[in-house]
Symmetry: C2
Subunit: 415 residues, 2 copies
């Protein structure tokens, strides 16, 4: 990990120039910093004010230093850390020296990223879901291509073996998902929330199934359709620019990778009913989503700036909300948290390599915000504040389920 901030803080920089004219930290500033530091204990983090004043929240060697470059950054952060760390960092009023991810992980373990007040949750009507998704996913395919893998998978990879490349790990994830859903040639599959379409195309190509794939992002749908055309799979994979609530027909498998976070708890039972309506009696399914060990809203800054309307559910939320409503039975649940930490690290590393290009095209605030989001995601999965769950399910009482899970790990997938 770099020991210097990714963004420039040379003495010639404009922020540094502003720093020079800041007043020295006063008694109140130091008192406030003391409060912040106590709240961070026992995180291994050093704090520094604009005039060089330093305090640490642990006696152990710090992972790095959070620098408040002006008084406003300290005031905002002390008042509302889970929102204002991101706001201050994005604006360049807060800097982090040392191990960026390490500092964030220490802070998350100490609880600073936890929302301190209940904020309004954005609604999840069909229309607003579209607006929310577009805010994130329609930033531009070219932007995502700078730091995702070649096939543009924007969900947790499966690093098996642990030193797999991101490309290999994303492919392993797709293979793993197909095995968990029990795909075999000729099946009809529906995918709810298909991103840029890589998994839908993989299933058709490698498992001989037909796929209807739903997604509310226009940019992603266009890209996916073009890929299907180019790869000669357009007759077997149909991409629909539609919400999961528009799913019609019956399918042997229901697959959703990375959509549930955006559905909203108030719609879980609707999702369960959609699955119940469209699944054949012997059908199986897989839900793959970012979740929590305990109920807690998404970090406020993330919800405001990166993923409007997102909520990482607990397993219990999904079991009660989705599976019970659909009279479904959980047959296998796996937590792949550390695989997501590794996935986010791979994205961040590529993002940092493309930083000059991102900054030039989108501006420094955008670049800083996305860098923080990627580093913060890695830290949140490493700290255990976020989980990645895969739930394999079938209808309650369906006896055609696999006898053991051993075939998932066999060389040929058949045990």
């Amino acid at each position: 990990m770099s020991t210097r901030p990714v963004f420039g803080t040379s003495p010639a920089g404009s922020v540094e120039a502003r720093d020079a004219i800041r007043s020295r930290a006063g008694v109140f500033d130091r008192w406030l910093l003391g409060r912040v530091v106590r709240r961070f204990r026992p995180a291994r983090v050093r704090f520094r004010l604009w005039d060089g004043t330093e305090m640490s929240s642990s006696d152990a060697a710090p992972a790095g230093t959070i620098v408040f470059r002006e008084r406003r950054a300290l005031l905002d952060f002390a008042r509302d850390p889970d929102l204002q760390f991101g706001e201050g960092y994005t604006a360049g009023r807060i800097e982090v020296n040392g191990d960026f991810v390490g500092v964030l992980e220490e802070g998350i373990r100490a609880g600073f990223a936890r929302p301190i007040r209940t904020r309004r949750t954005r609604p999840h009507s069909t229309r607003s879901s579209r607006v929310n998704a577009r805010r994130h996913y329609d930033v531009g395919n070219d932007f995502y291509a700078l730091w995702l893998d070649r096939e543009m998978l924007y969900t947790c990879a499966y690093f098996d073996p642990p030193d797999a490349t991101l490309e290999e790990a994303q492919r392993a994830k797709m293979e793993y998902v197909c095995r968990k859903a029990g795909l075999s040639p000729g099946m009809a599959v529906v995918e709810a929330g298909c991103g840029w379409g890589a998994l839908a195309l993989f299933m058709a190509r490698h498992y001989g199934v037909t796929v209807k794939a739903y997604n509310v992002s226009a940019e992603q749908t266009l890209w996916a359709r073009r890929r299907a055309q180019e790869e000669g799979l357009a007759d077997r994979v149909e991409f629909l620019e539609e919400d999961y609530r528009a799913i019609r027909g019956t399918f042997d498998a229901f697959i959703s990778v990375g959509m549930l976070e955006h559905v909203g708890r108030e719609n879980y039972s609707v999702l369960g009913e959609v699955i119940a309506r469209c699944l054949t009696p012997q059908g199986r399914g897989l839900l793959h989503f970012i979740g929590r060990d305990r109920p807690e809203p998404l970090n406020s800054w993330m919800e405001r700036r990166i993923f409007p309307g997102a909520y990482p559910p607990t397993l219990a939320d999904v079991l009660e909300g989705v599976l019970e409503a659909g009279r479904l039975s959980a047959i296998d649940v796996e937590n792949l948290r550390l695989h997501y930490a590794k996935t986010a690290r791979a994205w961040r590393t590529r993002f940092e390599a493309a930083l000059a290009s991102v900054t030039a095209r989108f501006g420094e605030s955008f670049a800083r915000a996305w860098h923080l989001y990627l580093a913060g995601s890695e830290a949140a999965f490493a700290a255990g504040s976020l989980q990645l769950f895969q739930i394999a399910f079938a209808r309650s009482g369906m006896n055609g389920v696999p006898w053991t899970r051993a075939p998932l790990y066999a060389a040929d997938g058949n045990g």
Copy 2:
């Protein structure tokens, strides 16, 4: 499956003799039977009254016939089927011809075993837990030895390969549990609810761990201690006749197989706190329990006659009640429902072989009740009304968890 009832219904039998003096079924009886039959639709079951009147709840070939041998059996059953089927069967007022388990499975799928009214749940104080457990487990070791495997494991086995004997499958289950809990030599393990001690002894012998094993049944504890002595493991396995709430010390693994069903929902957070208190920071654990896809009390007859105070929780009940309270994270959940159907079938088959002996020693009502309980369990797991969950867990944010689950299925358990 036998096409004749296990219990005698020869014309010379005493119940048959009573049948002979019953009056013919009247208009009311037939109307009532019609109501029962409609409630059972679409179960493939035929019903017969004491005078030979027959109706079916499906046009398909019936799995078997439920015979009401006297008016009282029909009246009771029509009023409160989930309790009175068992009461009538135990007393010999109800008989089943044909495929006993098949009839029960059809009935369970149609919903007849679902409690129709909320009944008082028995309390779960330390004292009453002891009383409840003793009612079931202190029937006598000799009785259980008639139909359990050699090592007296009274929990779901793991049939891998599918045609394994019960003995092999119980051994495979113990191996699987040890792998899921991540045991290695020198570890300290606590087992909450240890039955006759087979798993505790297995862990010490094959995984080189020391075990403290808790159980409130006096009969089981005595048996387990004797085995530990005989097998030279008494210095490494300590059996305590104590409730899980008495657990003291710290342990590298917390294992509980088949106890949670008896804990009572009101005590789940206590159990979570016990785990949190006794687990090392890097510790792992496994909960293995009978559960449900949706919240529902245990069948009333089962709760009254077989398992006083028992409740099969949903996964969400346990995640919210136990794991959240203990700040634990679910890392792996598996549903082994069909393995329990097979386990119960093995028990029932052995029980039927020992029926003359059971009846001679415990009386016909006892024998009929236990036969129904074993057949009903098999049917409930086959129908999907009961599930068998294994939850592997660790403290939230503990990063020493296995990278993938593949080692669970490797020849040597190390991948």
